[in-house]
Amino acid sequence: MSILYWLLWILLLFVWALLVGGIDRKIVAHLQGRYGPPFWQNITDFVKLFYKKGKVASRTALVVIDVALVIGVAAAVLALSVLPFPMGSGDSQLLSASGDLIIFAYAFALMAMVYVLIGFGGKSPYTLVGASREISMLLSYEIPFILLIVAMGYRAVFITGLPVESIFSMSALLAAKSQLGTLLMDPIFLGIFLVLLVLGPAVVGSVPFDIPEAETEIVDGYGAELHGPRLGVLFGLKHIKLITYSYFLWMVFVSPLTGSVLLNVLSALLGSLLVAIVINTIPRAVSGRFRIDQGAKFYLLGPGLASLLLLLLTLV
């Protein structure tokens, strides 16, 4: 029963991810003083890509790309399966084990590696440059991200007084949340939340850190050789990545607990939209794209040092 409910929930979340992409385009359009596309535009784009039939370049390694896309979908499902999902009695997880926080972080790194694989599979100069830029970005934001995950694990055990085995488990975080009301009441968790928000654009690959897929310089980077249904899967994967990250930030740190399923579902959807607007729409509307060295330096010096500091604070 619970798995059926969960499947329905991730389907809903996927449609919501596409809608969030459209709402994002609508908001940016209104900020620039135009009407913009209808807010379901990204659903239309997604469906359209499955109608297209094109020729594949002879140098392209299709096997690598297909395997990468399957891994990407699997990683997205994995990340969503350890995240809490809204039920009548509060949040529950489909899969829960000690160490599932690490699984979550790993699934995110895997999704970035999928882009790298697609880039190397494309074998055109543009996709190769896109892939190498993705690796540089991954190295610069993954270090602060992992440090923050470790800090979250320690802090949750410290607050709840659970045994050390439950360090790095989502359930410890949820227990800490139900103890505090919302994790933002704790100053260290508040700091972690803010740094994770700053990491957001790089993790989900949105402007100003969409350096690996700069469409005006390197013709869409790693995805340049994809078309038709494969491009559609990549398009969906990008949306799922954005919604998963926003959903993680909202569900683990903020979402208030109520007794009704409907309210919990609404809060999850609207909350993830809010976080997605903060980490995707606003940077996109106010800023241009960075160079790769600026991006890497920014993440290693800003969030990198901040996350180190937060980790030290949780340990003392």
Partner: protein
Amino acid sequence: MSIFKPEKSLWIYHLNTGSCNGCDIEILAALTPKYDAERFGVKLVGSPRHADIIVATGPVTAVAKESVLRVIDQVPEPKAIVVTGVCGITGGVFRGGYSIAGPLDTLVPVDVYVFGCPPKPEGIMVGILKAAEVLELKRKGMYQKDVVRISETGGVL
């Protein structure tokens, strides 16, 4: 339902085959907030493999011919080709020049002509929307191979 209609999502690829840059500026003007092409689902993409519609300018120079044909070949079906500017349609002032291999319709079938030197952004917008109709006919298998002619201000000729 129009949500699931593929012709409501038009990804365009801007192909310069050797134009004087006048038409290219007008294409970019059609994408600016004043004309707001995005409200019809138009998005400028960087790779021809992502495109639905090619918006081509220029008379196709001999040097560019090979690359132009390869780029057009890379666009997945169903696709539509819009030629903007007189020199893409007939060769214009460059017609008969020693370095000209075009115009484009002698090399590949073209679906929409937008006249003008350069056409106004309104004309280019109408051209793109007519190309969407062509795409729909192609998807339904009812395509008649007629070329649509658009005046520089957007009237159908």
